[in-house]
C-alpha cells in the first residue's frame, strides 16, 4: 500500500469520525471541533490527488496543494466566526446548545 493510498484511507476515516462527532456531541464547540476533523479529512483525500500528479513526471502537483493551503486558512476564518456566534448565543440566552427543543420550552424563549 503506497503512502498516498494510506493517507487517503486516513482522510476517509477522519471524515467518518468527524461526522459522528458532529451529530452526537451536544456541545456546540465540540461540534465545531468535529467539523474541523471532517474538513481536514476532506483536505487529505484531496491531497491524494496532489500526490498522484507525480505520475505525470513531477515531484508533486502544486495546484491542489495551493488550494489546500487556501482551504486551511479559510476553514480557520469560518471557525473563528462560528466561535463568535456560539459565544454571543450563550451570552444572550444563557444556553450552550443548538438543540431546537431547548428553545421551545414555555417561558424560556430568548434573553
Amino acid at each position: 500500500m503506497t503512502p498516498s493510498v494510506l493517507a487517503g484511507l486516513v482522510g476517509a476515516a477522519l471524515v467518518g469520525l468527524g461526522l459522528y462527532g458532529l451529530i452526537s456531541n451536544p456541545h456546540p464547540l465540540r461540534k465545531l471541533l468535529a467539523f474541523n476533523l471532517v474538513g481536514s479529512g476532506v483536505f487529505l483525500v484531496f491531497g491524494i490527488v496532489a500526490r498522484r500528479g507525480a505520475a505525470a513526471g513531477f515531484a508533486f502537483d502544486p495546484v491542489p496543494q495551493a488550494m489546500v493551503i487556501t482551504g486551511i486558512v479559510v476553514a480557520f476564518a469560518a471557525s473563528a466566526l462560528a466561535v463568535a456566534l456560539i459565544l454571543r448565543l450563550a451570552a444572550a440566552s444563557g444556553k450552550v446548545t443548538l438543540d431546537p427543543r431547548a428553545w421551545t420550552k414555555p417561558g424560556e424563549g430568548g434573553q
Binding site: G8, S40, V45, D61, L81, G94, V96
Partner: protein, 316 residues
C-alpha cells in the same frame, strides 16, 4: 515491511486514534488539546505526501491557532456561569450517526482505492506558469498561489477580512469601536511572561525567514504570517501587548493592506502586461515579493483579531 512503511502505518493509526480521542474526550479542554496534537501529526502526514508547504500551514493554522481559538472560547464559555449545556442524544440517534459516518467513510475509502490510473492533472500547466513568464520562483506552490491562481489567493484575503468583520459585528452595539477582551483574564505568571519575552523575538525572525525563503523553498506568506500571528498571540497572553481598539486606523489599514496591494498590482497588470493579474516579464519576482510582504502583514493582523473575538463592552 520496510521501516518507512511501518512508520507510515504507525502514523496513520496515531492520527486516527487522536482524532477519535478528540471526538470522545469527556471535557472540552481535553478535546482541544487532542486537536492540537492531531494538527501536528497531520502535518507529518503532509510531509510524507511531499507537501511541506501544506504541512507548515496545517501545523501553524490547523493545529496551533485553531487550538488557541478553541481554548480561549472554552474559557470564555465557562465564564458565563449560567450556561446550560444541552442533553446528549439518545442511543437511537447515536447508532444512526455511527451508521451514517461508517457509510460515508466507507464510500470515500472505496473511491480512494479505485481512483483512475492516469490522473488528470494541472501540474504541467502550473509548472509552465512557475518557470515561464511572470514568475521565476523556485517554489511551485508560491508560483501557483501568487501567479497561476492569483485571483483565488486575493479573494481568500478578502474572506479573512469578511470573517473579521463578521466576528466584530457579533459584539454588543455599545461596545463598537472598543478593544476585544484580553486573551487571558487572570494576571499571567512569571513563566508565561518569560516565555513570551524569549520566544516572540525568535519566532518573529523565523516567521520573516519563512516568508522570505517562500519564493524558492517551502514557506511563504501564509506560513510566515501565521507564525507572526502566533507570536503576537503569545505576547497578548502574557499581557505584554493588549488587543488594539477595533476603530484604530492603523489596525484597519494593516487588515486591508494585503488584498488592496494585490488588487492594485493585479489591475496594473492589465496595462503593463496585457491582462488582469499578469506581471511584467522582467519585474515579476520583486513584484511578487512586494505583494507577499503586504499579505504577511494582513495575515499576521487578521488571525489574532479573529482569535480575540468581538469588541468587549465590559472593558473600560
Amino acid at each position: 515491511m520496510s521501516v518507512l512503511a511501518a512508520l507510515d502505518l504507525g502514523l496513520a493509526l496515531l492520527v486516527v486514534g487522536v482524532a477519535a480521542w478528540t471526538v470522545s474526550a469527556r471535557n472540552l479542554f481535553a478535546a482541544v488539546v487532542g486537536y492540537v496534537a492531531y494538527g501536528l501529526l497531520l502535518a507529518l502526514v503532509w510531509v510524507r505526501l511531499y507537501a511541506p508547504d501544506v504541512a507548515l500551514t496545517e501545523a501553524a493554522v490547523g493545529g496551533g491557532v485553531t487550538g488557541v481559538l478553541l481554548v480561549t472560547a472554552g474559557k470564555r464559555l465557562d465564564a458565563l456561569a449560567s450556561a446550560e449545556i444541552g442533553a446528549p442524544p439518545g442511543r437511537g440517534l447515536k447508532i444512526f450517526a455511527g451508521a451514517l459516518a461508517a457509510l460515508v467513510a466507507g464510500a470515500l475509502a472505496w473511491v480512494v482505492l479505485t481512483l483512475p490510473s492516469t490522473p488528470p492533472s494541472l501540474a504541467p500547466a502550473a509548472a509552465e506558469a512557475a518557470s515561464g513568464p511572470g514568475a521565476g520562483l523556485g517554489n511551485p506552490i508560491t508560483a501557483v498561489l501568487i501567479s497561476y491562481r492569483s485571483f483565488d489567493t486575493m479573494l481568500e484575503k478578502v474572506v479573512l477580512i469578511l470573517a473579521v468583520l463578521g466576528v466584530w459585528s457579533v459584539g454588543a452595539d455599545a461596545a463598537w469601536g472598543r478593544a476585544p477582551a484580553p486573551l487571558r483574564k487572570p494576571e499571567p505568571d512569571g513563566a508565561m511572561i518569560l516565555l513570551a519575552q524569549v520566544l516572540a523575538p525568535v519566532g518573529l525572525l523565523i516567521g520573516l525567514h519563512i516568508f522570505w525563503v517562500g519564493a524558492d523553498a517551502p514557506g511563504g506568506a501564509f506560513q510566515g504570517g501565521a507564525l507572526l500571528a502566533a507570536m503576537g498571540m503569545v505576547a497578548m497572553m502574557a499581557r505584554l501587548m493588549a488587543p488594539p481598539r477595533i476603530d484604530s486606523r492603523k489596525l484597519r489599514l494593516a487588515l486591508v493592506a494585503g488584498p488592496a496591494v494585490f488588487l492594485v498590482v493585479g489591475v496594473a497588470g492589465l496595462m503593463l502586461a496585457g491582462h488582469l493579474f499578469a506581471y511584467p516579464q522582467n519585474f515579476a519576482k520583486p513584484l511578487i515579493l512586494f505583494i507577499e510582504a503586504f499579505m504577511v502583514v494582513s495575515i499576521a493582523v487578521a488571525l489574532p483579531m479573529l482569535v480575540s473575538g468581538p469588541p468587549d463592552g465590559g472593558a473600560k
